[in-house]
């Protein structure tokens, strides 16, 4: 059982990383639709990882919200905007180098801090992310942030409706 989970972890992790590479640096296609589809796959792999971490509720929500709603919205917008000639553009080498350097620096910081702290040692893995427990926590300890987030969603909704109006005065 342990072994199977480890194998699954490596499969999902490798798939997630490969798909993420295809999102940002796809060698075959610059089309945003391809990026979006690979991002969907990445989200799916992350949901798999969540399941391995026993966060079942979040895994389902990840699929439902990210893959089912957010990425569909992305696809919609990409298709509504007619992006034919946008695909052929050269990446400027200067920005590429700068980007790689900064990303390398950040990655180096991550790796160093990981080596320095050794977070895995002595940790016990036994939390179940069940819906009821999460819900209880959400409605007791985190009630205020929960309400604030709901207001945020309302504001976002109003904002989107306003922004999407054709003749904005």
């Amino acid at each position: 059982m342990e072994n199977a989970q480890a194998y699954l972890f490596y499969v999902f992790a490798a798939l997630a990383v490969i798909c993420a590479i295809m999102v940002v640096a796809n060698p075959f296609s610059r089309s945003p639709v391809t990026s979006a589809m690979f991002l969907v796959l990445t989200m799916g792999c992350l949901a798999g990882l969540f399941t391995l971490l026993h966060a079942f509720f979040l895994a389902a929500v990840q699929i439902l919200v990210y893959a089912g709603a957010v990425m569909v919205l992305f696809l919609f917008v990409i298709m509504l905007l007619d992006l034919k000639e946008e695909q052929r553009r050269q990446v400027k080498s200067l920005s590429l180098v700068a980007g790689l350097v900064s990303v390398g620096a950040i990655l180096a910081i991550f790796v160093r801090s990981l080596i320095a702290t050794k977070p895995g040692e002595g940790a016990l893995a036994n939390v179940e992310g069940s819906t009821s427990k999460l819900g209880k926590l959400l409605f007791t300890q985190y009630l205020l942030p929960f309400e604030i987030v709901s207001v945020l969603l309302l504001v976002a909704m109003v904002g989107v409706v306003l922004l999407s109006k054709k003749d904005l005065k």
């Binding site: 640096a25 991002l39 990445t42 919200v65 917008v77 509504l80 905007l81 946008e86 969603l153």
Partner: protein, 101 residues
């Protein structure tokens, strides 16, 4: 063959770095947005892993909030992109140089 916290954190760090790479190097505003989503997801993964290995559900609650905020952010952001496209007929960040000229 034991998968511990550090494995998940490495995956999370790699995903975050890839997202950042996308934000810095890609010039299409939609792809930049997707890279941002990738970074948020990487953070989610780290939080869930912490929550699991520290025997504490707070991380998962945090992820719940992140997903909600990300959804709101995407809705507003895409509405802005559509509005922008209506005015300028482009989604390319280098063409958005009105302040330069």
């Amino acid at each position: 063959m034991n998968v511990g916290l550090e494995h998940y954190l490495v995956v999370s760090a790699v995903l975050f770095a890839l997202g950042l790479l996308g934000v810095v190097t890609r010039r299409n505003i939609l792809v930049i947005y997707m890279s941002l989503e990738l970074m948020l997801n990487a953070a989610n993964l780290a939080l869930v892993a912490f929550s699991r290995f520290n025997n504490n559900l707070d991380g998962q609650v945090m992820v719940f909030f992140i997903i909600t905020v990300a959804a709101a952010e995407v809705a507003v952001g895409l509405a802005l992109i559509v509005a922008l496209y209506r005015r300028r007929q482009t989604t390319h960040v280098e063409d958005l140089n009105l302040l330069k000229h």
